[in-house]
Amino acid sequence: MSAMDQMLSNMTASGNGIVNSQLFSITMIIFLILFLVGLFYAIFKMYEQKKPPVESIVLIAVLTALATVGRIILMSIPAVNLASFIIIMVGVVFGKEEGFIVGALTAFVSGLFMGMGYWVLFQMLAWGLMGASAGFLASRFDNVGFRIVFGLLWGFLYGWITDISAIFYSGTALEITPIIALYLNGVSYDLTHGVTNAVLLVVLYDWFKKMFTRAKVKYLSGNQSESESISLSD
């Protein structure tokens, strides 16, 4: 108890406001990172608890790979990626849980290619929420105007969520200036990203919906006649 008292008195005696604010921001960072890791762990664990069939596992793997390729192929053109579009389509057709998992894993797998860092956690969150929100609003996606707004909005939301990772990098995290600099730096990027999403959602929506629905019916309706399909293949 006395050691603790001494520490506290030291902190107050030195009169360093900055010590407090830095310790506060570091606590916030640790809390935020632990919260995100816990969130992903809980959602992944929920998926594992359901004992998903092999088809579902392979489906998520192939969709993740497609989205990752869509990101990596166009890496040299900044902000233009096909990954967001594929993730939104997965959310719309397969549901919010699949959307979240595919989005989060896309960020993770492309992080393995492009360099891992704590910012990957925020990309996982942004893309996961993108897929999940598309799953929640799936019924409205037949409206073209809604699709445009959704794509544009998520271009900006993705940028804002991933920029959180950069806000915290210096001790006094609660400064407004670096945040403004950061978001000014990102506006054109986010706009390009959003426009790409919107265009793809207008042009390719019907085709991809048809394709994904077909895959969904083919993959996930086969579960009931599991033993039958194996005996047939023999």
């Binding site: 392979v58 360099g115 001790g171």
Partner: protein, 332 residues
């Protein structure tokens, strides 16, 4: 070179603490020491192309921060008048520079982490807790080159079609084309993702000036993408059936990698625990952090030669020591 193997979990802990320290320290002596030692470590590990890509993004951001911070932030005691009424503060400039350095250190730490721990070791940590998710990640990693090669094939067929070769008329043309594309595919499959394919696309997208041409290109891109997606979805169905037929999920999966805590791991953990303990005591006393606003309380004369600074250096040394030791052992 990995002569001394260290458990991936220990690496994870070590690098996590390093990132936290990059966030915390603001004393220029500590920051510069951190930067120098990390640069030494990275130059020993080898500079990757991925680091160069990240640096391209980092440099404009840091310049923007250094310029915007003095312009927008007027708090600070030492004013520098540029002209009659317009001033910037010394503190804001110092803050901008320290902030960019902190960002640079974080980027370098993660770059070094990617060098030390490869993805299989990273997945090894997850596979105990989340077997299905790590299975999905491994499968996705295998699907990526497959999908890429499919996309290249579709693009080549599309090029043939655009150039006016008719597939239905003559048998010879078709077989020639397919043989050709197969030969090329092997080469491009071996070389990694997005070298040839990517640059072709970029060149096409950039060389087109007229909007109509761009739209046409985008349409082609969309078509290629759609065909690749549908092809991959169909093919993966076979993968699923095959996995089921071979009894996937019949028993628990095992990993071919196995790591055990060795003496080096215990030594490293001990070192981390002791040095971090000392550093934290120092941090609570205010060593390693400086006040910037409202008035900077740092002078170059008060050198930080105390036990906390020593502990900080010792904390950063073990990986450099391992790298150098391995080099020496390798030579002999």
């Amino acid at each position: 070179m990995e002569l001394t193997s260290i458990h991936p979990a220990v690496y994870l802990l070590y690098y996590f603490i390093m990132v936290l320290f990059a966030f915390i320290f603001s004393d220029p002596y500590f920051v510069v020491t951190f930067l120098v030692l990390i640069l030494v470590l990275i130059s020993l590990q080898g500079i990757s192309s991925e680091l160069k890509n990240i640096m391209k993004l980092f440099i404009p951001l840091s310049i923007l921060i250094m310029i915007l911070n003095p312009l927008l932030n007027r708090t600070g005691a030492h004013k520098i008048y540029l002209w009659s009424n317009f001033f910037i503060t010394y503190e804001a400039i110092a803050y901008g520079i320290l902030m960019s350095l902190a960002l640079l250190i974080v980027i370098l730490v993660f770059s070094s982490y990617n060098r030390s721990v490869n993805y299989q070791e990273m997945l090894y940590i997850f596979s105990k807790k989340l077997p299905i998710i790590s299975m999905i990640i491994v499968m996705a990693l295998r699907f990526i080159p497959l999908i890429n090669s499919r996309a290249i094939e579709v693009q080549k067929l599309n090029n043939l079609k655009v150039n006016g070769i008719d597939f239905d008329d003559e048998e010879s043309d078709e077989t020639d084309g397919s043989v050709d594309s197969k030969k090329l595919d092997v080469d491009e499959f071996n070389s990694n993702i997005n070298t040839d394919y990517n640059s072709k696309f970029v060149d096409k997208l950039k060389s087109n000036k007229r909007i109509a041409a761009i739209i046409k290109e985008a349409k082609t891109l969309g078509k290629i993408m759609g065909i690749t997606v549908s092809w991959s979805l169909e093919e993966s169905m076979f993968t699923a059936k095959s996995m089921k037929a071979r009894g996937y999920n019949a028993t628990e999966r095992t990993s071919y990698l196995s790591y055990k805590f060795g003496n080096a791991d215990y030594a490293l953990i001990m070192l981390i625990a002791i040095t971090v303990g000392i550093i934290i005591v120092g941090l609570l006393k205010g060593v390693g952090m400086i006040n910037i606003y409202p008035s900077i309380d740092f002078s170059f004369s008060n050198l930080p030669f105390n036990i906390y600074y020593l502990a900080f250096i010792v904390f950063l040394l073990p990986l450099i020591y391992l790298e150098i030791k391995e080099r020496v052992l390798w030579r002999n």
